[in-house]
Symmetry: C2
Subunit: 260 residues, 2 copies
């Protein structure tokens, strides 16, 4: 199968760099084709602006969404953007790999999402009306593909526990797993997380690699997170709130997961 | 009082640009000193790397955290970083203003956080031991200052309701409000949010400005979000999980808010 790793760490000799190399070799040894977008090595431009279209802004006023639509539809996107979209089309599975900085992605990876996720490609796909709110959250351009996060963090696992001070890791990652990956149609696997990075010695590294290997082996067979599909009947449209009889009385991120 | 607006939108004539201008004029008319960090106009560099110290990386291997510490302590930070830290020291209140892109900040603003929040400035502050986990979540360099988010989004308010498909707006903003603002000591006010931006005509804009004016008038008097202080007795240290007798049985982001 074809696998894209989007890697967002400034130092090749870092723990993240080592996990990336391990994943690359392990997947290739298993017979997969693997491409890596090493965002720092590529000097990836992080900020959306009018230069994201080779024509610049269409009007006097740059509109991040409408200018993205025009450039995407007209084949006038900046070549770095269309190259990443081609990799996403090619991939059967995508891995986003990053250190958790301030409870989210590093800026360079956020800028990959902001710019590559063009209108017409990752959003604004399908019919938008009062009866149907597009092909998203389970449908869309990435439908049929799988995705997984590989995340490292300096904090302890208990700090990210259900009652940990940082908030539960599943909730911290929800805007990425649900909002960035499930949105355009990816099936999202549970994340691979390494805590307390400063304490990872060689023995611990070997243990993490073993755990990672099992996760990579299950990339196309493990059960994805059972997020509810927007157009699967659980939501009222166009309010897009969970129907009153689905998980009645409950609220928060967790209600968007069908407990099966 | 001194107020810093960190503004992250590529188009001055956008709705965000208009709200920024309104806030600036309103606050100045009330007698405040206001500084604006207009990140796009400043061509803010988003990605952390070895160039963030004027000396480059100290070792053969760049370490985002340790190299940040060394540059901060030695006065060897890139001047764009120290200039923003000076503005934060000067400010009595800070407003982060941005469009919600993919359920988080635009990359350029994430890069402002990633780079300006140096080790020793925004984290790694205070005693770190098994008995005390630093001055953070309610204490730290920003203690005594206030902060507020000004956010716009294309989606409807119902999509961000407690059972809305995007997740509740309070939970989506938690990693920013709690993880970026409360962490170094800011008292965080409830956010100012404008939904469904494509439908904001002149009448709606005037209404939003009226609502914004009241929020700006209350910047130093409104009740902040009652996040629990890390060192206030509610958490077990060093596990940093909520004590068993505090909000017993509950979990998730909301348990870090004392319901008073």
């Amino acid at each position: 199968m074809n696998i894209l790793i989007v890697h967002a760490h400034p130092e090749p000799r870092s723990l993240n760099g080592s996990f990336k190399n391990f994943a690359l070799e392990h997947l290739r040894a298993a017979g997969h084709q693997v491409a890596v977008s090493d965002l720092y090595a590529m000097h990836w431009k992080a900020a959306i602006d009018a230069d994201d279209s080779v024509d610049g802004a269409a009007g006097q006023r740059f509109d991040a969404s409408l200018d993205s639509k025009r450039a995407y539809e007209g084949g006038r996107q900046s070549p770095d953007i269309s190259a990443e979209q081609d990799k996403l089309r090619w991939a059967d599975a995508v891995i986003l790999q990053f250190p958790l900085w301030w409870y989210s992605m590093p800026a360079i990876l956020k800028g990959w999402v902001d710019r590559v996720y063009a209108f017409g490609f990752a959003y604004g796909v399908g019919e938008h009306s009062d009866a149907r709110w597009g092909d998203r959250f389970g449908e869309g351009s990435m439908a049929g593909k799988r995705a997984m996060l590989m995340v490292t963090t300096g904090g302890w696992e208990s700090h990210y526990a259900p009652r940990g001070i940082n908030g539960p890791i599943d909730d911290i990652l929800f805007p990425i797993q649900h909002g960035v990956l499930f949105y355009p149609g990816f099936e999202v696997l549970p994340p691979f997380v390494v805590y307390r990075t400063s304490k990872v010695d060689e023995a611990a590294f070997a243990g993490h690699c073993e755990r990672l290997a099992r996760r990579l082996d299950g990339l196309f067979t493990d059960e994805p997170i059972p997020f509810r599909r927007q157009n699967g009947g659980d939501y009222d449209i166009p309010a897009l709130t969970l129907r009153a009889d689905v998980a009645p009385g409950a609220s928060g991120f967790s209600v968007h997961r069908a407990h099966r």
